[in-house]
């Protein structure tokens, strides 16, 4: 919903002081985790997962309100929630794979493929709507030639619009974005699940099989929380709409990766406080 007045007043490029302070926060979080007696490997995994979510969101082609009228290319939904939908569908598959096989690599790959599959089907149906129901072929407004297929766009772009539909590079971006976001979300979930698997039985004095549903639910709720925070930060970076990896806005990715990594580091530290033995 972009019914807001006033242009976003952000600056372009990386802000050096801000990024340095951010990295300091990240290192402090890692140090604090180590000082509290936890292994830092899960936190590193959470940081990487958060950064991947932020990175993946930038690939997803989102056109916002203009796309719903055929005025801009991309999917006509909000960027944060579309990425969250794909990532959560991936998380669903990855959590299931982890439960069934217990294998880290299989679970993370399963989450990634789940997210990518959801985006592939969604992007296909979007193109089907544009081509078969609306009679509009896909065209990008930001580039003249598709980098993958070589299709040219200017002669297919309707007059008075900025492009429409999902050109192949946007489709590709959507699938890759869902893949990476699902990967990141499942990574966060599995790291948190491992921390709770080992930590919760110790502080609650219960055996691991009984504590299993609690660990899964905690890790799941936290994974959704992490997802929302990282996806919204990435959405703020994109300022609403992006055509895909070929869009000039894609160059803003580095600061989103730093931002999401720092946010995930700090939130990861807080989420480990749950298995801290405070004696209460």
């Amino acid at each position: 919903m972009s019914a807001l007045g006033g242009k976003a007043a952000g600056g372009e490029g990386i802000n050096p002081t801000g990024s340095v302070v951010g990295i300091v926060i990240l290192l402090v979080s890692i140090a604090a985790t180590y000082a509290l007696g936890f292994s830092i490997v899960p936190l590193i995994g959470i940081i990487i997962g958060g950064a991947l979510i932020g990175f993946g969101v930038h690939f997803v082609p989102v056109g916002g309100a203009p796309a719903a009228m055929g005025q801009a290319p991309g999917i006509a939904t909000g960027v944060a929630m579309l990425a969250a939908g794909a990532g959560l569908a991936g998380l669903f598959g990855g959590a299931w794979a982890y439960e069934a096989t217990g294998d880290f690599a299989v679970a993370v790959a399963g989450g990634a493929v789940g997210g990518g599959l959801m985006m592939a089907i969604t992007c296909l149906m979007v193109n089907a709507t544009y081509v078969f129901a609306m009679g509009i072929p896909a065209a990008s407004g930001k580039i003249a030639k598709d980098p993958i297929t070589g299709d040219t766009f200017p002669e297919y772009k309707s007059q008075g619009t900025e492009g429409h539909g999902l050109p192949f590079i946007s489709f590709f971006g959507g699938v890759v974005g869902g893949f990476i976001a699902g990967l990141g979300g499942t990574l966060i979930y599995i790291e948190l699940l491992d921390v709770y698997h080992t930590g919760l039985p110790a502080i609650m004095q219960a055996n691991p099989e009984a504590i299993e549903p609690l660990a899964v639910s905690l890790a799941g709720i936290f994974a959704i929380g992490f997802f929302l925070v990282n996806a919204v930060l990435a959405a703020y970076n994109i300022t609403g709409t992006i055509e895909g990896p070929h869009d000039p806005k894609f160059k803003r990715v580095p600061r989103a990766i730093i931002g999401c990594a720092v946010a995930s580091a700090f939130c990861g530290l807080i989420s480990m406080l749950i298995v801290l033995n405070t004696g209460m």
């Binding site: 919903m1 972009s2 019914a3 916002g64 309100a65 796309a67 719903a68 009228m69 055929g70 005025q71 006509a76 939904t77 909000g78 929630m81 939908g85 794909a86 959560l88 569908a89 669903f92 959590a95 096989t101 294998d103 679970a107 790959a109 399963g110 493929v113 789940g114 959801m118 592939a120 089907i121 969604t122 296909l124 149906m125 979007v126 193109n127 089907a128 709507t129 544009y130 081509v131 078969f132 129901a133 609306m134 009679g135 072929p137 896909a138 297929t149 002669e155 297919y156 772009k157 309707s158 008075g160 539909g165 999902l166 489709f171 699938v175 299993e212 549903p213 639910s217 799941g220 959704i224």
Partner: protein
């Protein structure tokens, strides 16, 4: 073997539920005009085009449906904890979720239209009276099917997530799939029916939505009929495929190659859909052709 056969049966049933849910979700969001196309309904009075369309300003569809399905699944879960029959629990959960959705619909409409008083857009109470029950009915179908599908996943397919969490996850995915597929159809084909077919809406035409229908003034109720012509079933197919294929590749191939079977199947499916999309894109370009210069446009 028997477990796989049962799993496939449940997968098919879940896929069917998902298809119905997707169709109902998109129809409901078009009758109520939710999400990105709604920005045009919001813009129209400011450009001087007064209308009688339901301006349901809730949020996008993914968070809204995530909330309704989470409420439905949560209440169903709570009732099952006190030993209610699962079917009754899911129905009661969906009823409460639809009640909440209905209230959000009315407050969204009243709020937005009252805040447009400067542009002389009146509040038409009969729109609420005639549309609310229709919107709630479609939402009930969508929420019930999604919660039932999640219940099947939790209890019959033994997914580790609890029912409320599954409801939230699939509610957001439902909203995302239905919104992506159905929004352009409603936004361009219905709201801007007066623009040329086969082209996007030029920016200069923003706000000039269709307010007078085939006979009389357009009411959002007609959007339901229109949506079920294409966007509703398309959204249903989209969400149904997502759920079905996600479950199918796991149930059938999880045990193969230590879990990698399902991954490879997933990658194969992504490639299949990529080829289909490329074919659709090329077909569109070839069949419709590029824009030509104006020679003798009739």
């Amino acid at each position: 073997m028997e477990e796989i056969v049962l799993g496939i049966g449940i997968t098919a049933l879940a896929g069917a539920f998902a298809t119905v849910a997707g169709a109902a979700e998109d129809t409901e969001s078009d009758i109520g005009s939710q999400g990105d196309p709604n920005s045009q309904v919001q813009l129209a009075p400011q450009m001087g085009y007064i209308h009688r369309i339901f301006n349901k300003a809730i949020s996008g569809e993914p968070p809204a449906y995530g909330a309704w399905c989470a409420i439905g699944a949560g209440v169903a879960w709570a009732l099952m904890q006190i030993n209610y029959n699962p079917a009754l629990a899911i129905i009661l959960g969906s009823v409460i979720a639809v009640f909440v959705q209905g209230i959000y619909c009315t407050s969204g409409y009243l709020g937005r239209i009252a805040s447009l008083a400067k542009f002389q857009q009146p509040v038409y109470i009969d729109i609420i009276k005639s549309l609310l029950s229709v919107t709630m009915a479609h939402a009930f179908v969508a929420i019930f099917c999604t919660v039932a599908m999640c219940y099947l996943m939790a209890s019959a397919l033994h997914h580790p997530f609890a029912l409320p969490l599954l409801g939230l996850v699939w509610g957001i995915a439902l909203g995302a799939a239905g919104s992506a597929t159905g929004n352009p159809f409603y936004g361009k084909e219905r709201q801007y029916q007066n623009q040329k077919y086969g082209a996007g809406v030029p920016i200069s035409a923003s706000g000039n939505i269709v307010r007078y229908a085939e006979a009389g003034q357009r009411s959002s109720l007609d959007n339901g009929w229109f949506t079920t012509k294409f966007a509703g079933p398309a959204s249903g197919i989209c969400f149904g495929l997502i759920v079905f294929l996600e479950l199918w590749r796991t149930v059938l191939f999880e045990k193969m190659m230590g879990g990698w079977g399902a991954i490879i199947m997933g990658v194969v499916l992504i490639l299949v859909f990529t080829f289909i999309d490329r074919w659709v894109e090329v077909w569109g370009r070839k069949t419709y052709g590029p824009y030509t210069t104006e020679e003798a446009s009739s």
